[in-house]
């Protein structure tokens, strides 16, 4: 990706970030709840051990968004995986994704495949959608870590620190 397209992508992601109701202090579950409330569609987070070929998965059904994330990794990595899938939701990627790319029946035997509207998994950044989701997830985490947590010195550090998006 050339530098101009990369800058345009970051600009687009920063614009989305401005409207995002980031909780203070940051908590990815709380952020998902807020986004779900805003969209009027519940978001369910499901830890799954040993996802095959992907480390995160967004499954959109008629009524719910399911976000599956790798259980056997560290908490910051899990948070990032959830943010990546949430970024797909925020960017409305599902209308152009191709249902059926990932077999959900192995993961959720009770889930009727006919109910699944879209599936997106986090595995590499070869497509524009994956790059956008990954960039937005990284920027959300950057913004979140720099927001004040209520203590005086945290706010001072936050104000004086120069390296943030």
């Amino acid at each position: 990706m050339n530098v101009f397209r990369r800058l345009a992508l970051r600009r687009r992601c920063r614009a989305r970030l401005r409207d995002l109701p980031l909780p203070v202090p940051f908590d990815v579950h709380e952020l998902c709840d807020r986004v779900a409330t805003r969209r009027g569609r519940p978001i369910r987070l499901l830890p799954v051990a040993g996802l095959t070929g992907v480390c995160g998965l967004w499954i959109a059904t008629g009524t719910t968004d399911l976000i599956c994330y790798e259980r056997d990794t560290t908490r910051p990595h899990q948070d990032h995986i959830v943010l990546h899938e949430l970024a797909h939701v925020l960017c409305d990627h599902y209308p152009v994704s191709l249902p059926g790319k990932y077999d959900t029946t192995a993961l959720f035997p009770d889930l009727d495949p006919a109910m699944v509207r879209a599936v997106l998994g986090r595995a590499g950044y070869s497509s524009a959608e994956e790059r956008e989701a990954e960039t937005l997830a990284s920027l959300i985490r950057q913004r979140a870590t720099t927001r004040a947590d209520g203590t005086l010195h945290a706010r001072l550090h936050d104000a004086l620190d120069d390296d943030r998006e």
């Binding site: 990706m1 990369r6 401005r18 040993g50 480390c55 790798e70 056997d72 990794t73 560290t74 908490r75 910051p76 990595h77 990032h80 595995a123 590499g124 950044y125 070869s126 790059r131 990954e134 960039t135 990284s138 920027l139 985490r141 950057q142 870590t145 004040a148 005086l152 010195h153 706010r155 001072l156 550090h157 936050d158 104000a159 004086l160 620190d161 120069d162 390296d163 943030r164 998006e165």
Partner: protein, 377 residues
């Protein structure tokens, strides 16, 4: 005012180093969207305007454009009032105080300064209304400076890091020197009006060294935390390099934006780059999972124990050995029959995770020839 040709090297450094530093800091600082960061930017903007127009070159430029003789001094003083307003506003804001008296005070006194500036024929020390102008300039800032010093000392006592404490003390010291300079300048101006001798006010220390020292102390204090934090992040980013490169060579798909230059040349956005490196290492470790060998982990743990390691250093040494073996197995296409299912070691938050992966990267590097090559990519 000393002309450029007459000035010594020392005098040129005294005149132009602070504005140069201010420009560098202002132009390299990223714009912020929250109030606190806007205050910091306004501090730097005020300093930059003031220090620039008050140099001989700034004087020539502004006067050449505006066709005036003293406008640069009014602009420079306005810049300093902006910096004082933003500095006090920042210290109030970070403590959740919502006072606004300093805004009205500075605006009101600046209006009075503008009136005096319009009344005076020039800003020569003995000219009419110059004494009033100088006193108004000091009166505008001294209460605000007192507030900055009071809050700065309080916050320095509460600071959680030595760097923040030192930075706040530098700002307080610079503000104290600036206060003394304002008082000295007012007394010097009074000496012309009321005809008394003021040798101290005319000395090089009071008229030149004190304001330069004050400006430098405040500027360096304002940027010190960001500079020290940035250097620490860059060191950590480079520390993670060998491990990241080894994983990237095994699976290039982990990288969102592969770096185009060696690590030591990577400048800017270092916080984001460090975060990406942590996430990409974790992605790489997940991709290696089918090749992790529990026998390698057990042997490495025993070796690390014998070497006297414990805690996170022991975990990091084990992880590095397992990763090295897994990378070799992946390259050879020989996955162990019984893959490792031990609990994942790492940090519960981003700082702890970054520190742990730093230890793993160091341990991986220390493996030397036993580790798959991690050449620069």
């Amino acid at each position: 005012m000393t002309s450029f040709a007459d000035a010594t090297v020392g005098e040129l450094i005294r005149q132009y180093l602070p504005p140069l530093l201010a420009w560098v800091v202002l132009l390299t600082r990223r714009p912020g969207e929250d109030q606190a960061r806007r205050y910091v930017r306004n501090i730097l903007l005020g300093f930059t305007i003031s220090l620039t127009v008050l140099t001989p070159g700034g004087h020539l430029l502004v006067n050449g454009i505006a066709g005036t003789t003293d406008l640069p001094r009014l602009i420079g003083h306005a810049g300093m009032l902006l910096a004082a307003w933003a500095g006090f506003g920042l210290l109030l804001h970070v403590n959740g105080m919502r006072r606004r008296w300093h805004t009205w005070w500075l605006v009101g006194v600046f209006c009075a300064m503008c009136v005096f500036f319009a009344l005076t024929p020039n800003l020569e020390p003995a000219s009419p209304w110059v004494f009033e102008y100088i006193v108004a300039y000091a009166v505008a800032q001294l209460p605000v400076y007192a507030g900055i010093m009071w809050l700065g000392v309080r916050y320095a006592r509460l600071a959680d890091t030595a760097v923040l404490r030192v930075a706040l003390h530098m700002v307080v010291a610079g503000t104290a020197i600036a206060s003394l300079y304002l008082v000295s300048k007012s007394v010097l101006s009074a000496s012309y009006r009321f005809s008394f001798a003021d040798e101290f006010g005319r000395s090089t220390f009071a008229s030149k060294l004190a304001p330069t020292a004050a400006n430098l102390l405040v500027l360096v204090g304002a940027v010190l935390p960001a500079a020290v934090t940035g250097l620490g992040r860059h060191r950590r980013y480079r520390q993670l390099g060998p491990l990241w490169r080894a994983l990237y060579r095994a699976d290039p798909a982990i990288a969102l934006d592969p770096p185009a230059v060696p690590d030591f040349l990577v400048l800017g956005r270092i916080r984001l780059r460090l975060y990406r490196r942590v996430i990409e290492i974790r992605d790489g470790l997940l991709a290696l999972r089918p090749y992790r060998d529990p026998a390698v982990a057990a042997a490495a743990r025993e070796r690390a124990r014998r070497a006297g390691l414990h805690g996170s250093r022991l975990d990091a040494a084990v992880e590095a050995a397992v990763v090295a073996a897994a990378l070799r197995a992946r390259a050879e296409g020989t996955a162990p029959g019984d893959t490792e299912h031990a609990a994942v070691t790492g940090g519960d938050d981003l700082a702890a995770e970054t520190a742990f992966l730093g230890l793993v990267a160091s341990a991986y590097r220390a493996l030397g020839p036993r580790a798959p090559a991690a050449q620069q990519v």
